[in-house]
Symmetry: C2
Subunit: 307 residues, 2 copies
């Protein structure tokens, strides 16, 4: 394949904003800033840093942001964690200031693109990625393309029910996967079982040192993940599932419980050649995934224009 | 669009085998036979009837069959209800005897194609279909194409967990949707709640006559369906979900409970413009769906050949 133009990728969080120049599937240069308040300040900072990082022409700017992106990927249509960006025409503003095309996408979706195209699932085309962080999210890649759903709202994988009468979830429902497998949930479970910890990281450390209640929390999180992943196998029959996000550091504790559930709950035909994988890109997944998203989007548009 | 050649479609069940000639989205002619025993007898009967029904050249023969179809759609790779067809090269045998191309697909998938292309979801392109029968199955159509999964095992929608410690399912897991929303399950629930019935049909009749325990069974089935459908909305964000199969006759009892769960569990962005629909084609869904499958498969192959 011919060399592709570099891409500017942005990982926009509620606390920090990271911007990178990605070329040949590598982060060439990067900067980080505290996320400013207000839509114009955020957009202005992204545009300024993008122009500084782009030494030559770039294929585009991809922004991974918390919330639901619009079907046109030109803005966040729902942005509970950055309400100033709710329905604000981010992409158009950034293009006006930089002259580069810009797309906005849900951060977990972009993360998934990174792990599928450049990380744990490299070489595979149909993969579901779970991101275990403060919340639980994910991304779905089908036949090499991000599945966004008709409103851009697909792959909210933390919000499938594990226990219909379970713990109240931030989304308003009860017993969602997120109430078992997020960092908050793992810490809550470890405490509930009797461990003397306050964070998921402490729970993980205690579990590794043999603390039974902490271990029990990861068994519970892993079995909930296994139930959710079995449902995904029976629904989508993907080649692989990737466990990503900060919670993946506990992969060795979660994995046996996931496998146990898959053996009982997933159909044999869906388990054939199936791979359960741990993420490999760490914090760079969303930065690299942005490049994959830019290439995919513009190639799809180019193909559509030829029809 | 130019007129398309007619298609021979087969709905192959464990008890009966129905064969039809479908032209311009209508069943033109049909026959039904008891399903013979033995792979050669089944294939021989399909070939003989196909040749009799096909007055002129047909685009192909589509067989909707119980089980998992191979990725190449040339046979059933898993056929628990018709073990004689397990891995038997059905399509090649039928093509040899008729000279028409032939494809084999899971019956619920073909049913879904019927409801999406010619039935309840006509005009929509991204739709999930549930079939409520003796078991619970389904089909997923994404951007106008059947989603089969990498091994042809996708859309086993009855086998997602509603209650991890629930009733034992025929698949070996506990608390699958099927243990709440199949005909067997609805009858079991009505009896458990105290109704004096033996079949799902009786439970439905009793519920309509005001029998509280029977009504309670449909409330339970509907809420389980609602939990599963909310998970599908948060995962795939489709335009619509269709409730099909024999159990859809109880749609008026199930629908309020489904809606109640969706309101609590589905993300607002996934609920925007979403439609919950009742099937419209009855027993003809699989016969009509076979035609849609033949057209889709051969058009996809023709496009791939042009590349």
């Amino acid at each position: 394949m011919s060399e592709k133009k570099p891409v500017i990728t942005v990982d926009l969080g509620g606390t920090n904003l990271r911007i990178a120049l990605v070329e040949n599937n590598k982060v060439i240069n990067r900067v980080m800033h505290p996320t400013p308040r207000g839509a114009e300040a955020i957009v202005g900072l992204i545009a300024k840093q993008a122009l500084e990082l782009a030494e030559k022409e770039v294929a585009g700017i991809a922004i991974a942001a918390p919330g639901t992106a619009s079907p046109q990927m030109d803005r966040l249509s729902k942005a509970p964690n950055l309400p100033e960006l709710n329905d604000y025409p981010m992409a158009a503003e950034i293009t006006e200031q930089t002259k580069f095309p810009c797309i906005v996408e849900n951060d977990a979706n972009v993360y998934a693109m990174g792990e599928v195209f450049y990380g744990a699932a490299r070489g595979l085309h149909t993969v579901v990625v779970y991101t275990l962080g403060t919340g639980v999210g994910g991304g779905i890649v089908l036949n090499g393309k991000l599945w966004r759903g008709v409103n851009g709202a697909a792959a909210e994988l933390g919000h499938v029910s594990i226990n219909e009468i379970g713990h109240l979830c931030s989304c308003g429902a009860r017993g969602c996967l997120e109430t078992f497998a997020s960092a908050t949930a793992m810490a809550r479970l470890a405490k509930k079982y009797g461990s003397n910890i306050t964070t998921a990281r402490e729970a993980y450390e205690q579990a590794n040192m043999g603390d039974k209640p902490a271990q029990q929390a990861f068994v519970r999180a892993g079995s909930a993940l296994g139930i959710a992943i079995a449902a995904i196998l029976n629904t989508l029959n993907p080649q692989a599932v990737v466990i990503g996000g900060g919670g993946s550091s506990a992969y060795s504790l979660l994995e046996p419980e996931i496998e146990k559930q898959l053996k009982v709950r997933a159909f044999p035909a869906a388990l054939e050649n199936f791979k359960l994988l741990k993420c490999t890109l760490g914090n760079d997944a969303a930065l690299l995934g942005g490049a994959a998203l830019i290439y995919e989007t513009f190639e799809t548009q180019a193909r559509a224009a030829l029809k």
